[in-house]
Assembly symmetry: C2
Homo-oligomer: 130 residues x 2
Amino acid sequence: MNDIKQFLRSNSLRPTKQRIVIAGYLFDGTNKHVTAESLSTELAKRKHIISLATIYNTLHDFYENGLLKKLILSSDRVYFDTNTNDHHHFYSEKDQFLIDINKNIKVNGLPKTPKNKKINKIEVIVHLDK
Amino acid sequence: MNDIKQFLRSNSLRPTKQRIVIAGYLFDGTNKHVTAESLSTELAKRKHIISLATIYNTLHDFYENGLLKKLILSSDRVYFDTNTNDHHHFYSEKDQFLIDINKNIKVNGLPKTPKNKKINKIEVIVHLDK
DNA sequence: TCAACACTTTAGAATCATTCTAAACTGATA
DNA sequence: TATCAGTTTAGAATGATTCTAAAGTGTTGA
């Protein structure tokens, strides 16, 4: 609890009740993939009712501060990933199913980067099913 | 024109005026990345006014028939790619900028596929800028 | 401890890409 | 050329996300 407050403060985020609850859930040591909706549902199960607006605000605040990764895999929802290490994913659209690939993946044979551009990150998505 | 009709027919798509116009634009020999909006704009420039609903319908019809690839790169629009070969992309969110990577990319070190799942496709997105 | 204020939360409205509806239209077929 | 299934379309509906602006709350300095 106090460590969560410290954690938030050290990321220049004022430790409000809501952020403490959300951070407590997200950063409990197990990696998670959430959407605004799924997060809202999980917190509600735990009797924490937080407005959707705040959930969106908080996810973005955390994202902006590098505490979450954003994953664009489907056109109808955004996933946030608590695993901020360099990694990749198995994804099944059919089953809304997402698994981290933490193994060291190597991508070989890339052509040269377009002029005046810099590579920000290389993302590998292994699509399962059809 | 008649080849476009044939092309559509051979994909079990009735060659309507609108589909002929859209296919004529999309499959003119140069690969394109379009969104419903950008396609609508391009066609309008060429004096072809086609309702957005039809543009969406047609993009999906073409997609369902394997004439287009769908690219999910941003949460606020869907891209369709006329290059249906196995390939990857450079993408700059900042500049809405998308370039095909046709070179043979190798992805090494993948862990084993989750139980009872089959790999549909491997997608590599090289994100540029930040 | 507390006043003061900047930062947050929130309900509800707004946005915007996309899909749906159901009525009018049109290619294909006999 | 009549018929009908497949298409197109305007406009409404949807749904995730963002915005607004009013009420609430950490933080700070005295």
